[in-house]
Amino acid sequence: MKIITIFICKLIQFILKKTGHGTSLPGSIALKLDKNILKKMERPQTIICITGTTGKTSTCSTITEIYKEAGIKVGNNLKGSNLKPGVVSLFLENATMTGKTKVQTMVIEVDERYVKEVFKDFIPDYFVINNLSRDQLARNGHFDIVWNDIHNAITSDIHLILNADDPLIAKFALDHKGSVSYFGMAKNKLSTKNHMGYLDLGYCPKCHKKLIFDYYHYGNLGYYHCPNNDFKRPSVKYESVLNNNYTFTIDNQKIKMNNEAIYNVYNLSASYVVARENGIDKTVISKALNNLSLQMKRLDTFKLGKAEGVLLLSKNETPMSYNQSLDFISKQKEDKTVILGFNRVSGRYNLKDLSWLYDINFELLNDASVKKILCVGPFAKDLALRLKYANIDKKIVTTYTSSDNVIDIIKKQTKGKVYCMFYFDIFNYVKAAINKGAKA
């Protein structure tokens, strides 16, 4: 049965690949044929899993690059989905007909809600947890639920790789019987005494006293301790030190970045630490990371009529990601127009919760260089209302309750450089128009 299942699914995989189609279908079929299929396949020598609200994909690809640089045969699910069928597809793709593995290391990105499902079938050797923050609350309820699910799935044979600067993530180590390594940042020029916005875990998980932060790096990340000394930011063996001119130092290795975004430092540091703990030579790791900065994806720039700008994905319901984009826009010094819009709150469900808009720091757009803000789509008025409470001058805000004419709006209603933040629906529509324009 095992061989038949693998055969059928590999055949489907082959056909789909030839026709240029997506990749979680073979996994779905395999699970239907044999729900324990994963247990029956040979396990690669090393399995590394990565989860978190943001940065999963880029951490997964970074770790893969390191192993390739080290000459190790490695597979990952970057092209597939990060839910269970995607993981099964990944195993099938890297297996022989008899279920033997063709790779030495497997790097797997796992959706934070599916960790408990995936870990039923195999336990990774290393488990990287980047961060957990507010994300699709109408689907997830809240992060305590996600945290508990992940916590219950962790067993003592797993070597945890945790973000030391995030108390919510460091908390996973409290009752962990196995190995734990940390990544984290030393105090630097971006560290501040004041936190931006809300805190998702401001209290000691042991004695419930408010944590004292000596400084914050970003959001709720920083250097903390409990007044009773029950819980504190753990010490980090390979601590990252941010330098000037887009580099940081870890383990005496200098790493180049293509931007100074703090999340970038965390993703690279997490990748460094897991590879180092797995015995990869430090010069090999730093070489791989430095090559990476050359090939990292560029911004999605466009020209439509006379309007020139950047297309960014608006991560609805995920304030941490949304804030990163707003932060990027606010740091660009030239005069600009910002366009915000989405036709649906979520691609997953039809519910129209808007509360997440108030967890996003739209106050970042309160800058003299922002000359116009255009809100597009059926929720344009709700966006404008949010901007009112960010104390943004009402005179610069215009609403368009349909996104049908978004291309015309970009072409004719903008001033200066144009920064578009659209959800997938409008994003893909605009992107298609840009590509069409490029061909014409």
Binding site: A138, G202, Y203, D353, L354, S355, Y358, Y389, T401
Partner: protein
């Protein structure tokens, strides 16, 4: 008119679902009326001086955080009960409404709460998520918002809303929220004061009246709030309302 004192209780621990938007909206409307407002951010380990505040707001939180808050707030049970009986303003959203009932049932565990009202809370094994449209007894237009919770309240004697669409106090219940004197409690997130301009106006009027009955309110400028409300209702709820 003297300064109005707003207390945002547990601002750093019960702050799920953008709930601080409610406080922002209220503060801004009072200030637009030329009234001085002092916002007090109060949390665990702080002394809770209920008498000092004119208006108390508490937002939604996770179950674990709610339990930490219960431990703290129970110390002030008597003072809070007196304050509600003496018409102090409380505006409570999300699952924090549960703090004011008798107890919370969590499987076999019974967590005592303030016991100001006779309802009790039951935590369920499933989450309840839906948009909410509610008929409000003291306002002509319906209230809109969202519910995202895994607990329900039962035996509520003082409902505030009638359910037009949504979960209400529990699945298929006909009512939602608690209104008693100047205590306003609702499971609705939104933020409900931002998204429902008539409710915001009403709360401002009632609050100002109790502090200085002679104070003359200017016309409100809630254009953005009203446009957002009207657009949302006309686009999505045409056949419901």
């Amino acid at each position: 008119m003297r300064t109005i004192h707003i207390a945002h209780l547990y601002y750093d621990i019960l702050n799920l679902y953008g709930e601080h938007g409610n406080v922002k909206a209220l503060k801004q409307e009072l200030e637009n009326q030329g009234i001085k407002v002092l916002l007090h951010l109060v949390t665990l380990d702080d002394e809770l001086d209920i008498d000092k505040y004119d208006f108390i707001y508490i937002g939604a939180g996770t179950e674990a955080n709610q339990e930490m808050v219960i431990e703290h707030i129970l110390k002030y049970k008597k003072i809070i009960k007196e304050a509600i009986n003496k018409n102090k303003f409380f505006f409570i959203t999300g699952n924090s409404i549960e703090l004011f009932g008798k107890y919370i049932l969590n499987n076999d565990q019974k967590i005592n709460t303030l016991g100001i009202f006779n309802f009790y809370t039951k935590r369920e094994e499933f989450r309840m998520i839906d948009e909410g449209i509610m008929k409000c007894s003291f306002l002509p237009k319906p209230i809109i918002g969202f519910q995202n919770q895994n607990s329900v309240i039962k035996d509520n004697e003082f409902p505030m809303f009638e359910v037009i669409k949504g979960i209400g106090s529990y699945p298929n219940s006909e009512t939602e929220g608690v209104k008693y004197n100047n205590f306003y409690g609702t499971y609705l997130i939104g933020p409900v004061l931002v998204r429902n301009p008539d409710l915001l106006k009403y709360i401002v009027q009632e609050l100002v009246k109790t502090i200085d009955s002679k104070f003359k309110l200017k016309k409100f400028d809630l254009k953005e709030n009203e446009e957002a409300y009207d657009n949302f209702v006309n686009t999505f709820y045409q056949n419901i309302i």
